[in-house]
Symmetry: C2
Subunit: 387 residues, 2 copies
């Protein structure tokens, strides 16, 4: 186990009707709020009215940034910063999924930065201070509700980059599983794949003897497998939605990665897909993951895949190692198919054309990962296998 510093400061209010705590928690930071949301589903669901009524009844003033994109763009961030500066906003409340929360985080960081917002995405060391962020989650997927990271897309440069600062972690997040009852099947599936991918990125690692972390990772993977399909088949199954929602937060709040060297290579490869083609992040991850697994499988890594197959999929440990490993990967692929996710790049409209360019771009900051280090030509092979 490697040394680590543990700090997970986000407070979580979890469960039905937890929105009751909104006003008092907002007021810990001020009474001037920027409400950040996406395409308007929160208006259809009634959540928007609920929140704005709470604000009105508690003398909280609010401004709005709506229309944040599924892969949130730096242009939205810039707009948000302007509203914050013009109105001396004291708290940014994101209502939605990870994109909305990510956008809010970088608005909060950009508020205190003098240059252009894209600078602090490219180089997080330029972030010094962040306006307080809070969130009300409506989609179990990215874990942004309990972590310090954000991913922002720049369409002008076809770049999609992650930035991290400890003060971007939400001060509090409200997780009411009923808010995810209306999430469509395909988004539920993509969200589940996203959660699983976050776990895979830290589970498959060079670090030996992170036994505790690995068993916890398996616990969360089993949770996703147990409830992903159920949530699709029974959208109002509270327990399915609750387990997935809590898994989304715990998968990437560092609990699983403390003490380990971690990968994040599939995320880096996927970010190019959604930067170039604007596809759903979770779908890209689900398509790439089994191909990355097959590519990463070798004599150094086979035991990790055996452990995965036996502990997560319940495979018989007595067989041939490679057979177990391949079988585990097959089960992974089949599960994503069961969730209704496309299993090839061509199904989502991605062909050979830009693969080389994307592979180069994915490795522009250096080789990906350590478990199986990937240079541009490796990434290209994985993209091609996934076509």
């Amino acid at each position: 186990m490697l040394n680590f510093d543990y700090s997970i400061p986000t407070k979580i209010f979890f469960g039905r009707d937890k929105i009751d705590v909104l006003a008092e928690n907002v007021k810990n930071y001020g009474t001037k709020v920027l409400l950040v949301y996406g395409g308007g589903s929160i208006k259809k669901s009634g959540l928007y009215d609920k929140i704005t009524n709470i604000f009105k009844n508690n003398e909280i003033s609010y401004w709005e940034l709506s229309g944040v994109e599924p892969n949130p763009r730096v242009s939205s961030v810039r707009k948000g910063i302007e509203i914050c500066k013009d109105n001396k906003i004291e708290l940014i409340l994101a209502v939605g999924g990870g994109s909305t929360i990510d956008c809010a985080k970088v608005i909060g960081a950009g508020y205190y930065y003098d240059g252009d917002a894209w600078d602090i995405v490219v180089d997080s060391s330029k972030i010094n201070k962040v306006l307080p962020i809070a969130s009300i989650l409506t989609l179990a997927a990215t874990g942004s509700e309990m972590d310090a990271g954000a991913v922002i897309t720049n369409l002008e440069t076809s770049e999609k980059l992650a930035t991290v600062h400890k003060d971007m972690a939400p001060k509090f997040s409200i997780l009411d599983p009923t808010y995810t009852f209306t999430v469509p099947k395909n988004q539920t599936a993509a969200g589940t794949a996203d959660i699983m991918s976050h776990i895979f990125e830290v589970y498959f690692s060079n670090t030996k003897e992170a036994y505790l972390q690995n068993r916890m990772a398996e616990a969360l993977l089993k949770t996703c497998i147990n409830y992903g399909k159920k949530a699709i088949d029974e959208p109002e199954n509270y327990e399915a939605r609750a387990n997935l929602m809590w898994a989304s937060s715990l998968a990437i709040n560092n609990l699983l990665s403390y003490g380990k060297e971690t990968e994040w290579s599939v995320h880096a490869m996927e970010h190019e897909l959604s930067a170039f083609y604007d596809i759903t992040h979770g779908v890209g991850l689900a398509i790439l993951t089994p191909h990355w697994m097959e590519y990463a499988l070798n004599d150094n890594t086979v035991n990790n895949f055996v452990e995965y197959g036996v502990n997560v999929w319940g495979l018989d440990p007595s067989g041939d190692k490679y057979e177990i490993a391949h079988n585990a990967i097959k089960r992974t692929r089949e599960y994503f198919v069961l969730l209704g996710i496309p299993s090839s790049l061509s199904e989502v409209g991605i062909g050979e054309e830009k693969l080389e360019k994307m592979a180069k771009q994915a490795t522009v900051r250096g080789n990906l990962g350590n478990f199986k280090p990937l240079a541009a030509q490796d990434v290209l092979k994985i993209y091609r296998a996934a076509l």
Copy 2:
């Protein structure tokens, strides 16, 4: 899954030589420290010198409360409060295991309380404010390094009671597994049993569909089982000590209990044993646990024990339910024996004499638990089975 509010504010600095962060973290709270420790093992190990040198080199003044007992007594708490008041202490640093940290916590709470310290143990609602607490852990067991609870013994009244206040959670704790290399075999065994008991108390629950929490509990139980014996056989095995140490914190920092109704009936029963006989807490827990399990096993609970047997001990799920359940309990008992822990009350000098009195005392605040509610006569039966 039940509603919950998640807040785990303690920062953890985990790993070799993490004591390097001590001075800067102390100084976040002040420069006048009360150092609380036990019987002097930290002097033998050199840790005392290391800490006091750091204080001297960083202009941190310190006072000392030494000799804190394994079941910390309210008399020690009173002494500590006096030192804090006389010297306007700004931070209390506990160095040791759970007893030392528990004592520090109640000193911190008592500092701001006008009456006698025992009042705030009996009734935690009397706690309003707490001096900042920090810890350097030298024994993996109670989890006090990352939770808000403390257990204090009053020898005059033969009471051992738990008290909780959110501000008693340490601001930071330093967890260096090498500090546990010198923990004797019997204390390593008792500590492991203590960790496992914390997990059992929240794992066996009436709450249905806390799937995620249950899988995580199993992850931690497997960690204890994988490393407990190893740490006894190879006291300087870093990975064994590290996994046990981190398990001790995560077992009881609420991560496993959020969203669940929990038990704590074995702890309540054990507190009477160590209040009346001053035995090691973990030993008492290990003796009582298998008997509590057998007593709690019935048609309502058998599925929980089957899940435990299959997921933790790898038992074949296809057999008769009760057979699996009994087998799981047998494996639990055998594991504690393997660790070298006595398996009956008589082995630790406890006879029939005070059993009735203790059973009455254990239930003085009401029946214990909900999974299998225990009245005084039930507790008595469990004590007798354990004789």
